[in-house]
Symmetry: C2
Subunit: 351 residues, 2 copies
């Protein structure tokens, strides 16, 4: 799943080239890293669900990773994750087979691939038994930017039934979750048999399933499947959690302790980046003096920083953002202001 506009990583991320296509972490995009992370899992060729405007970007990443660039389902617009998973499941079962589907957002970072593979194999066993499996990240801090999953009865040492999903908590609540030890971060990754997901959708969101079936019938296939816009517009926008997981009694969660981050903000990039002795993450042409715990990114010219702490500085050819690690969610406000003024810097990348 390569959706999302990545507004919270503006000004690096733009609508026409959002964060999953950027080399924010290393020399590869996050789409590429997500594809490469499958190596060793003996999966079938990957299928990418993406916005149609990003078709060329996705095809390039698929080719670069050694895959068929036509393995895409292209959405005319986003309808959240539940319809995306539905059209993927319908596509994968069109030939009469019923494979297990590993569903991964393309904008995550996972540093410990071996642990990730072990968790996926574990989840596959549970899903083969009929479960709808999600992954819950073992929390390392009282994060307020993630939703949580309250674990229920254990299935085995590494997996649980799901007691309930909880929304992003405030600080005090997040602290209590961390202490309780029975809450996991909701990762948005899943494994289920295609038929199991479609059956759950039929039970809990039948109008969505009907719209997705109609969409697949009306859609064109050339380089990838281009979803029919009229038909797809009839599907409600909803997440897999809301549409299915919160209602089914077949949900399970596998604990994942693999250096996971959703790269959802500049603060996240500061956390997972390589720090210097003063806790700074520095990318590009930067001269620093007397500064600590800051994320400084220069994409094209000299950036100098002196006497600051906990700052985020991101410099691109056409725009600069200065904010703090703590308040970097404010970038959404900035992008909203820019959009309201019709500024191209809000949406268009510079090449």
């Amino acid at each position: 799943m390569s959706g999302g506009a990545g507004t919270r990583l503006w000004p690096a991320s733009r609508s026409d080239r959002p964060k999953q296509f950027l080399d924010l972490i290393d020399d590869h995009s996050m789409v590429r890293a997500t594809l490469d992370r499958l190596a060793g899992l003996a999966t079938a060729p990957p299928l990418v669900v993406a916005n149609a405007t990003h078709a060329d970007l996705v095809a390039t990443e698929l080719s670069a990773a050694g895959h068929d660039p036509g393995r895409m389902i292209l959405e005319p617009f986003g309808r959240n994750t539940a319809p995306a998973a539905a059209v993927a499941a319908l596509h994968l079962t069109a030939d009469g087979t019923d494979p297990l589907m590993l569903l991964l957002p393309a904008d995550h970072v996972i540093s410990d691939v071996a642990s990730f593979h072990a968790a996926v194999r574990h989840a596959a066993v549970l899903a083969a038994g009929g479960a709808l499996v999600t992954f819950g990240v073992v929390p390392t801090s009282p994060e307020t930017g993630y939703g949580y999953i309250k674990t229920g009865h254990p299935v085995d040492e590494e997996s649980f039934h799901i007691e309930r999903f909880v929304e992003k908590p405030d600080s005090a609540t997040a602290e209590s979750y961390l202490e309780a030890g029975t809450y996991l971060w909701n990762s948005g990754m899943f494994v289920f048999r295609c038929s199991a997901y479609l059956a759950a959708l039929s039970e809990n969101a039948p109008e969505m399933l009907a719209a997705c079936v109609a969409t697949m019938k009306a859609s064109a296939t050339s380089n990838g499947v281009l979803l029919d816009a009229d038909a797809f517009s009839a599907t409600p926008a909803d997440s897999i959690d809301y549409a299915v997981m919160e209602h089914t009694d077949r949900g399970m969660v596998v604990a994942l302790d693999a250096g996971w981050s959703d790269v959802g903000s500049w603060a996240a990039l500061w956390e997972i980046g390589e720090h210097d002795d003063d806790g700074n993450v520095l990318i590009g042409d930067i001269v620093l003096s007397d500064s600590r715990n800051s994320y400084i990114r220069s994409e094209h010219r000299l950036v100098t920083v002196a006497g600051v702490e906990g700052l985020v500085v991101v410099s691109t050819p056409d725009a600069l953002l200065v904010t703090t690690v703590e308040k970097c969610q404010n970038v959404k406000t900035i992008v909203d202001i820019l959009k309201s003024r019709g500024r191209p810097e809000a949406t268009d990348s510079t090449g």
Copy 2:
């Protein structure tokens, strides 16, 4: 006097175009503002002492202000203020006259011109009587960035004999100066009869006077006076305060309360700038969210700032500075690092 490299206002100020030539305050350079500030004082045509590499810049400013662009003394290198004042005094007395000389650094801001004029007229009366007069700014805060003048016996309500000059104080000392009410900021502006200054120089720094006399004899005149480098290199570098004022018993100080600032740092520009309701000074293409008491300057592209306080952000076509109002003196460290690496951004303006 248009000397100085203005390093503390990097990256706007560069060696080849230092701060006094920039439109930092309003639509005019500080050189131009210094020339224009004379209007109404019935002075003779102004004479600018500047570095020879800035000859074209100075001539342009003189012309734009309606003055003869040839009224320049051009130094091959800086030797501080005492030699600059000496060559100016020698030049002004070359025709056998002995005028009063008003000596002004070209990088100051004075918001209340009427009060400035009144103080100059007052100083001229004292100087006509033989005094070497400087201006002491009535302090409005416990500034640690300025030297101070301790006032002695009063001459009249607005002027004093000079008890002593004191170096830049620490915070506690500056507080005590402010409370005492007998300390003024050392402005570096002077009025004296040319012969009085030259006589004081002869008494207290005879080798400097001799070198300056030799320099003037060896110098060429075409567009302005170009000081002979060999001869000028023999003059010691010293300030008027050190070379003369601290030794003479003819020194007086006129109190000046005219909205004076030496524009010596980004913090000074933040203080004298026009503030929005949140205490920010914003110049250029800027989008702000939830930010206070910051100085943000964009010279060429979109700058966005969110969730910060007391920050300095200066963006030029080839370099960016991010620091704090409190620690903006650190920019000297940045420029030193850049010079040690041979970076052109340290010295060369981009046009």
